[in-house]
């Protein structure tokens, strides 16, 4: 006899409402992965999300957890405050490339260096989305944005910043991985990485960081499908996927 089982449905940690994200924006996918991990780890009731500034400022409308809004770039500091005040809660930040790698560079470096027992979800789509498509610290050489219309130029603007590599070098970092959601294989790996990151926090093992290389079809001026192809063809060769720091084995048995 044939038997039907439900194998996939939106997590109950996701609030049932349409998102404001553009068609093909992979913030939605990242939100879904984070929600599923929180759901599967059964930690929604003790999770505090630290929002940030960018398209994902509305994260708190989509996840059914307590949340606090931070000034631009300061989420790792706000998270530090929340976690030091209530160390038994699960605290994570969700930040875009401008928030984390531009104005927030000091805060993320120091929170990581201090080894704060928090989780940082970093969504890197190489452009400032919310404000209309300006250059980001991770904008690629030659990529045209509204503030470098001729294409980013290394001599004037410097090279795009590889955050996972930098964060991984800091002493307080226990787990650091770069992931993507451009195909199902990568989506599955991304979810495993996020789960590892949250588990790292639950086990009191220190700072965890997951960078999502993601699309911004609107500001890349591409269709969602073409934008997704750009991830694999142009971005991942420069921002390679993989684990950049993993001290979890050292932490076990402590």
């Amino acid at each position: 006899m044939a038997q039907e089982t439900l194998v996939f449905e939106p997590s109950k940690v996701l609030i049932d409402r349409p998102t404001h994200y553009c068609p093909g924006c992979q913030h939605g996918t990242a939100h879904r992965i984070v929600a599923e991990v929180i759901d599967e780890l059964e930690i929604a009731g003790k999770t505090i999300a630290i929002g940030s500034i960018g398209c994902s400022v509305f994260l708190y409308n989509y996840l059914n957890v307590d949340a606090v809004e931070s000034p631009h770039g300061r989420a790792p500091a706000v998270a530090t405050g929340v976690k030091r005040a209530r160390p038994d809660k699960v605290v994570f930040t969700y930040q875009g490339d401008g928030d984390l790698a531009s104005i927030g560079m000091a805060e993320i470096m120091h929170a990581a260096n201090r080894g704060e027992n928090i989780t940082v979800i970093f969504v890197n789509n190489t452009v400032y989305g919310m404000t209309g498509g300006q250059m980001a610290p991770t904008t690629m050489i030659g990529q045209s944005t509204t503030t470098c219309p001729g294409g980013r130029c290394a001599e004037r603007e410097g090279l795009p910043i590889r955050m996972s590599e930098i964060i991984a070098m800091l002493g307080g970092v226990t787990y650091c991985e770069r992931v993507a959601v451009n195909n199902v294989k990568n989506i599955n790996k991304a979810k495993k990485a996020v789960k590892k990151a949250f588990q790292c926090q639950l086990d009191g093992n220190g700072f965890s960081f997951v960078e999502f290389v993601a699309t911004c079809p609107t500001n890349w001026k591409m269709s969602p499908v073409k934008a997704n192809e750009r991830v694999g063809e142009e971005l991942l060769p420069y921002f390679p996927l993989g684990v950049y720091a993993d001290k979890l084995a050292d932490k076990e048995g402590k």
Binding site: I48, G81, A106
Partner: protein, 354 residues
């Protein structure tokens, strides 16, 4: 018969503030070194752990105030301290905390400005403190101690007030207060009646999720929020505090706050001994400003001289308070000059003689 002498400790104003915070149940401190307030983070770096709390020397004043935002969102009594340039850095987060209605307590030990200025006392941050140095319509409850005992007492009150009104409270001192040593009598605080459990973030187990934010995009929402905040600041007027010294029969009332008020008081005492009818009106809350008691003095026909260590800031509020009846003259001790009572005699006499 036993004489119970209350225990005294001989400490700096900075330390008195730290002691007051500890006695008030402060559990988290986030700060950054800057002269002349370093005694505060230095004391808190051990005291917070002893109190079962936590301490972070942050990477900047910006980071520190944002850590404060986080710990206050979690409903925990927390503190940051800094001095003028560092307070400028904190303004964005202060605006956020006011807009999100967080019970943050901040300390500014005012030094000379503008810019890097100097490391001596000044009162150039009055505007920044009372007008909101950050963006948008908001006010902080501002407390201005003049003695080390007052620094201790007002710090304790600051936490209670912050949680009662869900509003940031600022303790405005200066380099003189921070570095001078006086004996103080420590005492236990009131039992905290924080209703933080009604709104703070603890994880939504067993309840609806909560949001701490200051973004209000829905139609009418920001307008409502602003009206709500303004109504709160009206209610805060119940917290007005001031000291009136020898004002009853004074012809000339000196208006001053903080360390300058203390120095002016010495000048007033000396002139009173010579038979001059001068008095001192010392606001202790700079916001809410003691408009009504000042106006009352103006209606009695008194004249006013505001003395500050800046180029004229609180004098605006004095003039506003008494505008229907009188005006205030102003004498400014410049930032960079260390004021002493003798320097104030001349200007006071000049105003007194009209």
């Amino acid at each position: 018969m036993s004489s119970k002498t209350p225990k005294r400790i001989f400490i700096k104003g900075n330390e008195a503030i730290a002691h007051g915070a500890i006695a008030a149940g402060c559990k988290c401190f986030f700060g950054y070194p800057i002269t002349p307030q370093n005694d505060i983070p230095e004391m808190m770096s051990t005291a917070m752990f002893e109190a079962g709390g936590d301490f972070v020397q942050a990477e900047s004043e910006v980071a520190a105030v944002n850590m404060l935002l986080g710990s206050c969102a979690a409903g925990i009594r927390s503190l940051t301290s800094s001095s003028s340039p560092g307070m400028s850095l904190k303004q964005e987060a202060i605006s956020y905390m006011a807009g999100s209605e967080l019970p943050a307590v901040l300390v500014n030990m005012n030094r000379g400005g503008p810019g890097l200025g100097d490391i001596g006392p000044a009162q150039g941050d009055y505007y920044q403190s009372t007008r909101g140095g950050g963006h948008g319509d908001y006010r902080l409850l501002v407390l201005a101690p003049a003695t080390c005992q007052e620094a201790y007492d007002l710090t304790m009150d600051a936490f209670d007030l912050a949680f009662e009104y869900r509003n940031p409270v600022l303790i405005l001192g200066d380099a003189i207060l921070g570095q001078m040593k006086e004996p103080i009598i420590p005492h236990p605080g009131k039992t905290p009646k924080d209703k933080a459990e009604d709104w703070c973030l603890t994880g939504n187990q067993g309840r609806e999720k909560r949001l701490i934010k200051s973004l209000f995009l829905e139609e009418g929402a920001l307008a409502d929020q602003n009206r709500h905040l303004m109504a709160k600041y009206e209610r805060m007027k119940a917290e007005v505090r001031y000291e009136a010294f020898e004002t009853a029969d004074a012809d000339l009332v000196i208006c001053a706050y903080g360390s300058v008020a203390r120095i002016a008081k010495s000048a007033v005492r000396k002139l009173r001994a010579q038979g001059k009818k001068v008095g001192l009106f010392r606001p202790i809350t700079l916001f809410p400003f003691p408009d009504e008691p000042l106006l009352k003095l103006a209606l009695e026909g008194k004249r006013f001289l505001t003395i500050e260590q800046n180029c004229g800031q609180m004098v605006d509020d004095v003039r506003l308070a008494i505008r229907t009846k009188a005006d205030s003259e102003f004498f400014g001790v410049m930032p960079g000059e260390l004021p002493n009572p003798d320097d104030l005699e001349g200007p006071i006499l000049k105003s007194l003689e009209g």
